[in-house]
């Protein structure tokens, strides 16, 4: 019978199927960070258990780490916030105790979990990957089954190498056609969320297929899979093709020599068969997608940069209308105001959605030889990992940002969730390349607008949103 990519990944990892529909799925890779792991390690200790397979786990601190060079200079002990310090230190201690490989705070391989996994080859095609973070689906770009789990599940996977799961339904998001110039993977995924809504993918494993994804780079595919959760899907994925294989080749933990050939032969199977059944199919024409800007407090509240802020008066559904009114109030926006009239106070280029080298290059391209608008208080560029940072510096991109008045930081989650010192002030508008625009996400009272790296960079220069396609 013809199978989908998800069916194949599921079948390949099924250890046990119960009559009640729940199953045990074998987990190949477990990525761990400092926020959702301490209680899990504690649980293991309390029960006198050890991780089932230490070599399946890779850890790195990211959520809490400071991103200024000054605060980073002294490693863990230099972290000024005492709660963050304890969390990072605890991860170090736990990894040391259990013998888990950790890229510690100033290790050049440290970075955001979902950036580090693929770039080191720790996450590979055909794998099952979990991490105590909802954006784990990023790894699905490799043709793997990857999703976020809770703290009890972190402990469960450590102790048993398995996850208790129920099989999800299959959804195909098919984007054909050609993307216009200046339209990026971030715009594609925002357009998808705008179309299906934040609950559109609930209960589904979401495969991204069609010409647009076939032609997209691996890093772009990661940006798209990263935000599957914002469309309600716990897992997002793209079938393995030559782009996948070329990306993985030569990475630190990727197979070499004979094993490489053997692995590639297996990985090529991780595609949906012709005629495989999807429970739901959504089709979008790639040529219609324009640069996107979110205007509200949910990732589905997004329009194109050419549009105006929507008017709640034209919404018939009373619940939605109320949500819109509330969002406009929180965001301090007027209905029907052009998107390009929204001024930005801060700019954040980073996060597991958009902090890879292609993202950094795209932003640098826009600001090259220009100056940040005086009205923009701060524009920070936070590379996703030490490797991204080193690569960008080797290409001189850091200098381009600094010359343009932007700040070049140390790797971490940073202003994506404001657990460290990088925060928005109340009422401030931020052009952000991150993935969530919830109330208070980037700081109490902060107003987030989700955009692509190029759009964020352009806003930093102009001081308000502009259409990057015509910005020169």
């Amino acid at each position: 019978m013809a199978k989908t990519l998800y069916d194949k990944l599921w079948d390949a990892h099924l250890v046990h199927q119960s009559d009640d529909g729940s199953a045990l799925i074998y987990i190949d890779r477990h990525i761990v960070h400092e926020v959702t792991s301490p209680q899990a390690f504690d649980g293991l200790r309390m029960a006198g258990r050890k991780p089932w397979r230490v070599d399946s786990i890779l850890a790195t601190p990211d959520h809490n780490v400071p991103t200024t060079r000054k605060e980073r200079a002294h490693g863990v002990s230099g972290i000024q916030d005492p709660v963050s310090l304890i969390q990072v230190k605890t991860l170090d201690d736990n990894c040391d105790e259990f013998g888990i490989l950790e890229f510690k705070i100033n290790d050049e391989r440290q970075g955001i979990v979902h950036v580090v996994g693929p770039e080191t080859g720790a996450c590979l095609p055909g794998m099952t990957v979990v991490c105590g973070d909802s954006h784990t689906a990023t790894n699905g770009a490799l043709g793997s089954l990857a999703h976020g789990i809770g703290t009890s599940e972190v402990e469960h996977v450590m102790a048993t190498q398995c996850l208790v799961a129920k099989k999800m339904k299959n959804m195909l998001i098919k984007v054909d056609g050609k993307l216009g110039l200046g339209v990026t993977p971030k715009d594609v995924v925002l357009a998808i969320i705008a179309k299906i809504g934040t609950a559109g993918g609930t209960g589904y494993a979401m495969e991204f297929g069609g010409q647009v994804f076939r032609e997209m780079s691996m890093e772009g595919r990661m940006t798209v899979c990263n935000m599957a959760i914002e469309a309600g899907a716990r897992a997002g994925m793209v079938a393995v093709d030559q782009t996948t294989i070329d990306y993985v080749k030569g990475r630190t933990f990727a197979p070499k020599g004979d094993l490489w050939e053997k692995a590639v032969a297996e990985w090529k199977n991780f595609v949906s068969d012709d005629g495989a059944h999807f429970d739901s199919v959504v089709e979008i024409n790639g040529a219609d997608i324009k640069p996107q800007v979110s205007w509200g407090t949910s990732p589905e509240m997004v329009v194109s940069v050419e549009d105006k802020v929507p008017d709640p008066a034209s919404e018939i559904d009373p619940v939605k209308r109320n949500d819109m009114i509330r969002a406009l109030q929180y965001m301090g926006l007027e209905a029907n105001q052009p998107i390009t009239s929204i001024h930005v106070d801060r700019v954040f280029i980073g996060s597991c959605t958009n902090s890879r080298i292609e993202d950094i290059r795209a932003a640098a391209e826009v600001v090259r030889g220009r100056q940040k608008a005086g009205s923009v208080k701060e524009a920070i560029v936070v590379p996703g990992s030490g490797a991204v940072k080193a690569q960008a510096e080797a290409e001189g991109l850091d200098k381009i940002f600094i010359a343009a008045g932007l700040e070049w930081r140390e790797p971490g989650c940073s202003m994506c969730l404001a657990m460290n010192a990088d925060k928005l002030g109340a009422g401030e508008h931020c052009a952000s390349t991150s993935n969530r625009n919830f109330e208070g996400r980037q700081g109490y009272g902060g107003r987030t607008h989700l955009v692509s790296p190029a759009m964020a960079a352009a806003a930093a220069i102009a001081g308000h949103f502009v259409d990057v396609r015509t910005f020169n």
Binding site: P38, V54, L124, T160, F253, L259, K262
Partner: protein, 215 residues
């Protein structure tokens, strides 16, 4: 998870309805990186007269001598007698963590909030529902007798008083099985350890690149 078979212990009162999880463990303690150590801050706002801060030693803090858990006679209590809708409010798993860490193994009440009730089972804590009438009687007997002990027998599904009166309670068969055998999800999964190992052995042969690389 600890198994639960028979517990005999001092009963202590939490004599008010609608005790919420914020009362059980206030929000400032959620920043902790641990699942243990919440016991000293259980009912923090009722037990102490000052405002509790995370990571602070509770020794030397001013004690609310009017709060029953601070009475010498309830020292070492392991069964909490409570009123209706115990554990309402926030879903924090820190609430059962705190009760357990303090030393409670069972909470007896006429009714519980749903999420709290579920969270208890994940942590080896047995919530028992008895009728309002019986709970009231237990309260009265407890107040009248210093050193009042109850016996909870999970296998027999009974709560027995010092005078030998026994009251039956209901419990879901699956949960009973898990508690009796100390099986949490992890314990249950490990019942399939042979299958997991067999899967692993097969994959080691088929796909060796998945093993022993990250270390």
């Amino acid at each position: 998870m600890k198994s639960f078979t028979v517990i005999q212990g001092i009963a202590a009162p939490m004599d008010r309805a609608n005790v919420d999880t914020d009362m059980i463990i206030p929000k400032q303690f959620l920043k902790s990186i641990k699942r243990t150590g919440f016991g000293k801050n259980l009912f923090d706002e009722l037990r102490y007269l000052d405002e509790g801060k995370p990571d602070q030693s509770c020794e030397g803090r001013p004690i609310n001598t009017g709060f029953p858990l601070n009475f010498p006679r309830y020292k070492d209590a392991s069964i909490l007698l409570a009123r209706e809708n115990f554990g309402c409010g926030s879903s924090r798993e820190h609430a059962p963590w705190a009760l357990d860490d303090y030393g409670f193994r069972s909470v007896i009440a006429p009714s519980f909030a749903d999420i709290f009730f579920n969270n208890c089972f994940k942590n080896g804590l047995l919530p028992i529902i008895l009728s309002e009438e019986i709970v009231d009687r237990l309260f009265k007997e407890m107040y009248a007798t210093e050193g009042y002990q109850l016996t909870v027998d999970l296998a027999a599904q009974t709560v027995t008083t010092p005078s030998g009166d026994s009251f039956g309670f209901e419990i879901d068969a699956f949960r009973k099985h898990c508690l009796l055998n100390g099986l949490d999800d992890i314990g249950l999964t490990l019942e399939h350890a042979d299958k997991i190992r067999a899967y692993e052995t097969r994959r080691r042969a088929e796909a060796p690149w998945l093993f022993d690389v990250v270390k």
